[in-house]
Symmetry: D2
Subunit: 481 residues, 4 copies
Amino acid sequence: MIDTGDRSLHEECGVLAVYGVPEAAQLAYYGLHSLQHRGQQGCGIVTADSSGEMHLHKGRGLVSEVFDGASLAALPGSMAIGHVRYPTTQVGGPENIQPFVFKHSAGNFALAHNGNIINSEELRTSLERHGSLFQTTSDSELFAHLIKKDRSEDHRIYNIMEALNMVEGAFSMVIMTAGRIYACRDKYGFHPLSIGRLGGGYAVASETCAFDAIGAEFLRDVEPGEVVTIDSRGLRSMHYSAFKRHDMCVMEYIYFARPDSDIEGCNVHVFRKKTGKLLYQEHPVEADMVVGVPDSSLSAAMGYAEAAGLPYEMGLLKSKYVGRTFIQPTQTLRDKGVRMKLSPVRSVVSGKRIILIDDSIVRGTTSRRIVAMLREAGATEVHVCIASPKYAFPCYYGVDTGTYDELIGAGHSVEQIRAFIGADSLYFLSKEALFSASGRSELCTACFTGCYPTDLYAYRRDRDQFAGPGEPEEPTDPSQI
Amino acid sequence: MIDTGDRSLHEECGVLAVYGVPEAAQLAYYGLHSLQHRGQQGCGIVTADSSGEMHLHKGRGLVSEVFDGASLAALPGSMAIGHVRYPTTQVGGPENIQPFVFKHSAGNFALAHNGNIINSEELRTSLERHGSLFQTTSDSELFAHLIKKDRSEDHRIYNIMEALNMVEGAFSMVIMTAGRIYACRDKYGFHPLSIGRLGGGYAVASETCAFDAIGAEFLRDVEPGEVVTIDSRGLRSMHYSAFKRHDMCVMEYIYFARPDSDIEGCNVHVFRKKTGKLLYQEHPVEADMVVGVPDSSLSAAMGYAEAAGLPYEMGLLKSKYVGRTFIQPTQTLRDKGVRMKLSPVRSVVSGKRIILIDDSIVRGTTSRRIVAMLREAGATEVHVCIASPKYAFPCYYGVDTGTYDELIGAGHSVEQIRAFIGADSLYFLSKEALFSASGRSELCTACFTGCYPTDLYAYRRDRDQFAGPGEPEEPTDPSQI
Amino acid sequence: MIDTGDRSLHEECGVLAVYGVPEAAQLAYYGLHSLQHRGQQGCGIVTADSSGEMHLHKGRGLVSEVFDGASLAALPGSMAIGHVRYPTTQVGGPENIQPFVFKHSAGNFALAHNGNIINSEELRTSLERHGSLFQTTSDSELFAHLIKKDRSEDHRIYNIMEALNMVEGAFSMVIMTAGRIYACRDKYGFHPLSIGRLGGGYAVASETCAFDAIGAEFLRDVEPGEVVTIDSRGLRSMHYSAFKRHDMCVMEYIYFARPDSDIEGCNVHVFRKKTGKLLYQEHPVEADMVVGVPDSSLSAAMGYAEAAGLPYEMGLLKSKYVGRTFIQPTQTLRDKGVRMKLSPVRSVVSGKRIILIDDSIVRGTTSRRIVAMLREAGATEVHVCIASPKYAFPCYYGVDTGTYDELIGAGHSVEQIRAFIGADSLYFLSKEALFSASGRSELCTACFTGCYPTDLYAYRRDRDQFAGPGEPEEPTDPSQI
Amino acid sequence: MIDTGDRSLHEECGVLAVYGVPEAAQLAYYGLHSLQHRGQQGCGIVTADSSGEMHLHKGRGLVSEVFDGASLAALPGSMAIGHVRYPTTQVGGPENIQPFVFKHSAGNFALAHNGNIINSEELRTSLERHGSLFQTTSDSELFAHLIKKDRSEDHRIYNIMEALNMVEGAFSMVIMTAGRIYACRDKYGFHPLSIGRLGGGYAVASETCAFDAIGAEFLRDVEPGEVVTIDSRGLRSMHYSAFKRHDMCVMEYIYFARPDSDIEGCNVHVFRKKTGKLLYQEHPVEADMVVGVPDSSLSAAMGYAEAAGLPYEMGLLKSKYVGRTFIQPTQTLRDKGVRMKLSPVRSVVSGKRIILIDDSIVRGTTSRRIVAMLREAGATEVHVCIASPKYAFPCYYGVDTGTYDELIGAGHSVEQIRAFIGADSLYFLSKEALFSASGRSELCTACFTGCYPTDLYAYRRDRDQFAGPGEPEEPTDPSQI
């Protein structure tokens, strides 16, 4: 899938923290920049200086747009947390850009998280009944209220753990106080969160690629259900829940994460290349060359080509210069052939039988456009091989897939999808291959199977209305999910 | 070579024209955007409306930064020329951003070109002696003066042809008058310029990828020494010089052009992949995998890996979000490991013997940084294979290579360069392979051989000072050039 | 006093509301623009559309900088509240820019106020003990928490009235819910707040000049201790306190308000001109002409000149183009005579004896600079007449005067001040003249007398430390206060 | 007249030069800022550093918008020229923003001027015939070509003088070369240009207020027909024409210049105040108070009030915050009473008979709006007294008055104008009063009399078409001009 503008999958955000280093804001800047692929709508950094005072700068746009030399210089201190937010206008306005700072007589604190809380509606209503007042719809604000709600303030760590036990859902979170950083992960382990050593201090990040960017060395992952406290005494660990799973979101491997990140010990590029090989083993197609949809499907395409002994070709080119301020062509211009994000390499694909590798099909419209583009450029056959199973169930854990109705995989057979996208053939990878490629026994594959690891609360009520009879029973042929 | 910030090769610009289409400015916008890789410092568009009045908007920055909806809407007309300018501050300030519009009682006209005029100093001095007054150091202004100098105005085409005969050097140029567009190319054919059919009108562009972007269909290349006139009567051709060569700049194939462009019938990706195969045939290295330096060396790396039967791996990752406003890390932060443009994929390269494919070595500093980065990430061996000969002579035709002294290939042997960049071994492609990959008998390879197709005028004087004895005699072992 | 940059008196903000009119945001824009003199640091507008949803836009800078056509168009609805904030960085960052919107399951609401709450520290601590969480240091957020704190939600008006009874201090406030606007004023009546009829609806504003700007007609002032409810049934009044005073801040008349505003029935220009006449009656000075310090002292200068029968001259000129982005001259340049805000009109003042009228002296540095400037321009005598008593006590009700130590009137006699500013003579207006000019029997003149209408809570503690023995006893000679 | 947005009179620009001072660009910045009232569309500064290299920064907007710390810092050198340009889109796009820099092998040079050349069309055509090429429609570019045209280059001063002799019209100009500044004025002396001593160097400016702003001391005016050379040897004077007049534009006194400027020995505020007194002597009106239209008519209003023994009142208030980015109200909002620039002070004018002083009537629409506004605010009578004669003839010397048809004074009697603007009575000042107030025997009063000091060339042709029979004969009753 191409990943700007009309992609259909979004993840909610990336988090980062640095502790115990000079110029913490600068390091947070470079770290956030390496997490930019996890969110381009807005970003922010809070630092705490030696007096415990907090300094915040956040805004709309890319890290390189929101910050300049002056705004970074105005963020003193050796501790920082930061956040990148993904682009949508549906889930709240700019007031939801993280991190948040809360002023409190017992000590100010700051918070940033990614993911999605399943029971936020219930918790908000309950808090409001006791006088809480919300200025945003962000779950970070909800977390903050839960932490401060009628607590004795003796031991903030217990307040945090109590709060974490009240929420159900997916989250990776960093909390900063005057002298400490807390790194927390939900008890299902949906999204990654890792700890690194950074000079004489520490770094925490959603992906390990941030460690490479700032010269940190990977130490370990935060465990599901764990709160890691970082302060002048070093690292300390507490576990707030006896219930623990390792339901890492499989889309992190398939689509979201950067190829150079390692997620719980498995490198993302390596995972993707393996799925490409397994895809060939499951669905060997006869053709002249293998072409991947840039950028996230290139690794799988390399793997397929290598396994098939076919040339891996640059049949599609993605523009590097499509930014936020780019003027979209009108429909009239589109109809006349104006395109800007993705171009076919005409001389490469003309007269050739193409195996097109993509990481997933969500709505099907992008795939249809690409297939048509390749045919128009002279490809004689276009066989589409997807390096994941059929995406058929909405995600409630932080991946924005739109509604059930928008998922072409939800109500259509593989043959119907093939006809829609105009491919000569269409194949999906099996669920088993995902476990095999990752070398794991646990993964959240709810978007492929409908088996959600948690209760769904309010979402359940909505879903009950749209789910047809028999849904979501476990399908029998995994590759046809 | 990586291509932002510290790359050492720059080409001067890209040009574009559209004729006979509604919303010409919009199409110019999308066309220029697809030529953005040829220049990121500034850009501009001029349109001519039905009354012949010219409307100009230009400025610093990317196409998507310089233009917005309002500025495009203020450019009416069905004809336009446009330009993207490459990033340097050495060769003139923002007043040099093209196109230029000239006000004349005999009819206003606009001009944009790329390349470099060799005898501009001589021509300027001569024009000044006759009262010409220059506001910029741009060769486009020089062209304009040559065209208008004491002419009878009866037939502009003869004025243009006479002017073209006075200049020596490399250029592709578009000229727009109230009702016509002229597309011109130097008589050596140094840089590409192609013509396409666009709806009921025409398009002219430095690269064919612009035609794909705006829905135009390739018709033919402008010939060396040709002026193509486009107006309501269609296309007409004039040749201003009997002397003609086809000395296409080989760096267009190797580095500058987009992989999806075809240059005089040869696709750029296909050329690069072939050089990768030939590089393997000339220099088969034993290793575990092949890694290309993104983005311009990936095609050659695919070719090498395919020929060698070795895995093609994503061992280096380039950030998509490094833009003009990005804050460069301080040296202190760099020393601590902060990096932002290029990251090694640690899990891929660790413990592996790497064949690193790059398109060229200019100063050697980038290659040294990449080799060190790969070793630090655990690579046990790094063999560098360059998909071009040793770059040893400055270019005077529009490629900004800095001075002779800055070219590591100019004064150093292959072994010295290998030692400098810290590679286990270092190989260059032969000059013959370039002709073979392009299927051509003529190419400008002056940067590898020192055999310049033209006289060098003022440059000659400078060069005579730095060139050592015997320079630039033809070397005997092509792979060691 | 001149009023950009180095003035020493600041008031906290202006508020505005419009109800029951199409394009409420547009009217709020023009209304806020006319209140711009009350605050230039930031501003914002919230509208409520027909579904009750709230739309907010706010930011740093002038009304004309923060809003453009697009941001206004994104604020639909027929109700709006708005705010302008005064320029300081001391009292909180941009997160304090008003209005605020609060999300609540019982209905979202928005709030904006000006003034200063005296017991905010005590109230915040108390609220936090019961679980409230603050994101800013703004009293508006405090108000919101007080309103929502453990309420039954049956009748919001009672919640508001209860909240208003808990706060002590100076405030004018507008609250907007899905269908209502509430306009509230403190029980002392420190700052103005007026109601006007606007088409088929209503307007509320800090100053009546906003009514002229948007075509509204003045109806009446909001009374001290009153909450006026505006909804589809029209206006309704509630009084939340039996205690009522009319301690209007006298500096509103002297300095803050626009000359075309009427404050509780008395026009500001008329007041100032009367003080000028009374100043002449109290202190007739022999000189050649009367010069006022632009802009706020011009009315008083006209009055003095008229009473004295002396020419009123433009002896000082203020630049119209000094904005936020103006580059301040370095001290070196200042020493060389570079100035930008205020210029003497050399030809007018040269060789003349000047009576310089200013509205107040706070730190004395500006007056000293002006006196020196006039002398340097050739004035032979400069007699300074201040159209208010000696400013000797800090304000705790929303006027930012800096600390006690910064007030030159606090620790110095009139003669000492005269010597400091370098005037030939110096006179202050009597306190009685202020009552006479305003035709009122009640005014807050605490800054001249030290008699604060309210208890001072935390401020008291601080003040007790700096107040010398005997302070602040009532002085006997009013003109020497 | 109010002077933003809908005023009808514009002057073309202000010029400035500084020589022989450290940080020349900084001083040019403050000097240009004080000339901002002469042009708000764009501005620019060129400096020459010690090597003679020129550094230019210019752009659209106010001085404070176009320049920031970085752009000023990028303008090294101890010499600078600068320019402010007045706001119109009619006379050319942003390419016409001055100063211009010209690159020449005999030495680069820079140029800025204000005013208007009468024979520019003829000169351009002639230059083009000899090969000159123009990029703008600016007369500065024309000057540059005239200076460089086929010259021997031996003595630039002779080239300049020869060029000045070829142009007919109004101009004040500064020219900068590597080591010199030339200050030139047309032989009629239409617009002011003065020289001051600035530290160890010199300053040249369109108005003396710039000298006060930068700490310079007035030395003398540049004479009509004079070229003053400023270099390391000090000041030298040359006169390029034996023909000399002192036809200073009377509108400089009446409207354009800042009140603190002295124009050829006469202070502007003093002039205006005198015209107010003379206006009372010519037209004593019985009323309650005198009100001036801010800002340019306030001095005249003071003079009228003082002479009449009537109160001078602030009956109209002008907003200080109306800038370029202000959103103009729609007609619908205007009809509902939304206003932003000018407000009546209701409490002052209500029930009163007003004498409204304005400096001139050009189109009459602004006067009509103000009269209606005062009546609506309760004024019982509004008598309009204009401190200049009836404006009835277009200006060709740099004042942009629109066309002949747009001047209400051109085709209408005083009674017709009175009826149009809705005043109870209307009076104009006599032409004689202007000479009396300025103490001069020569002034250009062509806009009142139609007696143009120069031939009109192309303008003549146009004017011959619109001028009715008998026009422009000298009127007999001066007050009815």
